[in-house]
Point group: C2
DNA sequence: CTGAAAGCGCTTACAG
DNA sequence: CTGAAAGCGCTTACAG
């Protein structure tokens, strides 16, 4: 590989001049240098440049799981927004583990100029180590306790979950279950709070037997749904707190031959790529994903390139309720008013 | 940040000794050095190390689109297989564009030790530039013409597509359409060849009006399906050549209220994450994805760490036919034998 | 605008 | 096993 010395020699100037030309500064020998560069096929070594300048030219992206369509979309948004700024993306999955996340951050820190991070848990220490090291980070979809100084791009978890609750309440449901994610994550905490608030507005409380916590993965959604169906008095409606758990719940429902929405209503936080193709189509709380990634990247770039040093900026994106076919009023067999009478005879259609 | 000089000074040894200790070589002052490193919170600069050693510690991953669940799974496999080897992943999307791909490769080349690449088209020049530059690359899911020297991990496109054709033929279909991807991609070429072969085994040919080519994206699957449905004699079965186009086709079918499999059968290459939840569940050609990524990474690592210099190794993964509910024998109204008679009266149920 | 020179933080023959 | 020294390929005050 040709070095800057080769170019300088060939062009008959000093390496300093070549370096200036590379940086776009006005240089007398511009034409000769360009020629030498082309003939030698020269391209500067990013490693050497970084060593001198301290600029790494890379951004670390750490998400729980790229396999989750939401995060895949986020990554796409990140890339779109960063195009043309000369940064590359170092991607890693934390697999929802705070330990792995901390390791990854430590590994990546000396290699990047900043981070886009969706922390596994709100108690994660990794992000704080970052701010101590002076590496800017914007938190995506999830906050961290004591992390007010970070830029954050969130979705309106409370508002979305509240809308889900209101929707179910307005349909007449009373036996309503929530399959939530860990409450030590921002989405888990926010969606729970919002859901409880929405129920409260309908003078309902979340019955402890219907108050379930999974781990945001498909399998936990499936298992918990199975548990709910096995209850002596199973719920007439379920709110699943994210896309993957919704899929798990739907699979459990199908396996148990529970009809949606006849026997049970289901509404999920996050739309599914095939949400509109399901039978019935999924009622859900939809939200931007690619845009959320793009927004986060723009915040980071503004710190990196404009040297912005404000306090943490908070952006909260709106959700929207998509009423499709998976929710409806509870069937007569489950209607609260007549439930006791019917149950004395039938034992309840869904409790088996 | 502490440098190796700080550590050396504190430990009372030379930087050479510290460097050797870092590399795991036996050193007398090991204990003192360790202490100094801990007290200073020293961690070596990867940039400086790279500049000296030439080892970049990163692998470039270039795929058409991480948003495609197949590639998201592949990326997960790549990461799993590389864990513990000390490499980081630089991820970029080519967006199915050969030009963007070439730019990305040029940008990334000086920063990585090797590439995992799913080329946009078989004529791409980018990969050849790589081998000229001496940067190892393994091709994933897609080959490149004249690229016999590359390691490649493919899926059995021919076999899978042939199985799809056989399945439809065995059900009695004759008016069979294929919605393929670009034939200048390995999957497009292979799946077409396999499908034609499968039809030929049933003494059938692919009618030119049923021989469609999209771009592997959802929207093209939708558009083409609409075109097929508008045909005076629409097909009784469709084979879609990848996951995204299958989704598009299903949406078109739903929008046009065409019943599956009553009015039309559909089989896709690639399973969908919700494939089993659809009504009817999707019949498809399934294949490994995470494993394909892991395999590709192992090939690359073997070149990188063991310095293997063999000729290109080819791995072809098997597909499996998942017969679910979206395919069945053509209905009487479409049965070839009696079609002419019926059509004289009804005009055909699906042609509207 | 330009060049000589120092230095970014390491690693690695070379000599001991 | 260890240290002095050169050098990886750049950039950037400094002096002109």
């Amino acid at each position: 590989m040709a070095t800057i010395y080769d170019v300088a020699a060939r062009a008959g100037v000093s390496t300093a001049t070549v370096s200036r030309w590379l940086a776009g500064q006005p240089v007398r020998a511009a034409a000769v240098i360009r020629e030498a560069v082309e003939e030698l096929g020269y391209s500067p070594s990013p490693m050497a440049q970084s060593l001198k300048s301290g600029r790494r030219g890379a951004i670390g992206v750490v998400v729980p799981d790229v396999t989750n369509p939401f995060f895949a979309a986020v990554v796409k948004g990140l890339e779109q927004a960063s195009r043309g700024f000369g940064y590359h993306m170092l991607l890693a999955n934390s697999d929802e583990s705070s330990e792995l996340e901390a390791d990854i951050l430590a590994e990546l820190t000396p290699r990047v100029d900043g981070f886009i991070l969706a922390p596994a848990h709100e108690q994660d220490l990794g992000p704080h180590a970052l701010s101590e090291a002076g590496v800017p980070a914007v938190l995506l979809d999830r906050e961290v306790s004591g992390g007010e100084a970070f830029d954050v791009v969130l979705v309106d978890n409370e508002g979305g979950a509240r809308a889900a609750a209101s929707h179910l309440v307005s349909l007449g449901h009373e036996r309503i279950a929530m399959i939530n994610g860990p409450t030590d994550t921002t989405p888990g905490r926010g969606r729970r709070a919002g859901f409880l608030a929405g129920l409260a507005e309908g003078d309902l409380a979340l019955d402890p037997v219907y108050d379930m916590t999974g781990d945001f993965r498909e399998e936990s959604g499936r298992q918990i749904t199975l548990q709910l169906l096995a209850l002596p008095e199973s719920p007439t409606a379920i709110f699943t707190a994210n896309n993957l758990m919704t899929v798990g719940a739907l699979k459990a429902l199908r396996d148990m031959r529970v009809r949606v929405p006849d026997d049970i209503s289901i509404i999920g936080f996050d739309d599914l790529s095939l949400g509109s193709l399901l039978q019935p189509p999924l009622t859900c709380i939809a939200r931007p994903d690619v845009e959320q990634g793009a927004l986060a990247m723009r915040l980071l770039l503004s710190r990196l390139t404009d040297g912005i040093l404000d306090d943490g900026r908070h952006i909260v994106l709106n959700t929207s309720l998509l009423v499709r076919g998976s929710t409806r009023a509870p069937s007569a067999a489950h209607a609260p008013e007549i439930r006791p009478r019917l149950r004395a005879r039938s034992g309840g259609a869904t409790s088996e």
